[in-house]
Symmetry: C2
Subunit: 178 residues, 2 copies
């Protein structure tokens, strides 16, 4: 995306949008827009209970959708920030806990047609209270829920957030392989 025909159309704190003029095989030209994104982390914070594991889910207001949704903690990486540093920071900001261990589950592209965003998913275990101030623009509350119930919600379409569906599935697979 660094050819000579591109221009930045919006530049924000975390990411920017670039418009690129392309010549198509049929000879026409067309402008397309892409998001240049530093990547993000997705966290599956787990706490052992008497009967299994709870996951710390968030209820977060999403201005793009105009509604409050159920999702896993997640956040955008700084351009030069290390992935594990980002994971620990976002966990502390959004849940108030730090993790003794961050277990890599895999990576996903949420919107490869529009953005180069890569999300790295981690299970966060061994949680200890160690909060950081939340971002001023975020409205979130933490809601612990049993993993089996969440897995069923992800499987049958009652959770709509893509990263959360995948994070819950992969976390459940991790435990089933232990």
């Amino acid at each position: 995306m660094n050819d000579g025909n591109s221009r930045i159309v919006w530049h924000g704190r975390p990411w920017q949008m670039r418009a690129v003029t392309e010549r198509l095989p049929n000879g026409q030209t067309m402008e397309r827009a892409f998001i240049d994104h530093p990547g993000a982390v997705v966290l599956v914070p787990v706490q052992q209970t008497a009967v299994g594991f709870n996951v710390l889910m968030l209820r977060q207001y999403r201005a793009a959708l105009g509604e409050t949704i159920l999702e896993l903690p997640a956040g955008t990486r700084g351009w030069d920030e290390k992935w594990l540093t980002c994971a620990q920071r976002e966990l502390r900001e959004e849940t108030g806990f730090r993790a003794a261990s961050l277990i890599y589950l895999g990576e996903i592209w949420p919107s490869p047609g529009v953005s180069n965003e890569q999300m790295r998913l981690y299970m966060a275990a061994g949680l200890e209270p160690d909060p950081l101030p939340a971002d001023a623009d975020e409205e979130i509350s933490v809601q612990p829920m049993p993993l089996p119930e969440l897995l069923e919600m992800a499987r049958n379409g009652r959770i709509h957030d893509a990263k959360s569906i995948i994070g819950l599935w992969w976390a459940a697979e991790y435990f089933s392989n232990q």
Copy 2:
């Protein structure tokens, strides 16, 4: 997103980007950008074989990533297009088949922090050749692969495209409940 403080910063054929100036609880203002998106369909086209089901996957060049990825057929809806009309059109454009039945699997938000895009997922069955011309800006090839192999790739992180991971999981669940 239709308050008085927003402006369109880019307007494309399928979607547009809007920047919104928000006043934060701490009194500061901040500009954030969102994609206004008409939604998209994701298709899981299945063909019965002697031993089970194949899924018609795509290998598609994604300019945002700068690479060719493995993913399910999918496409953006026209602003006034009916969802099932969109599903049949995208299936014919991208795979060359029409479906006798489109089975709704569920819906997801791929990027609720940035976009209001909603994706509706359908299994496409009863496939008959009935191609439409592909979009001039798309470079795709169709690759049939066995559903059990794809499910395993989605489960263990060898497929990175979020919509495809979820579509394959939900399709496999559909068959396991039959």
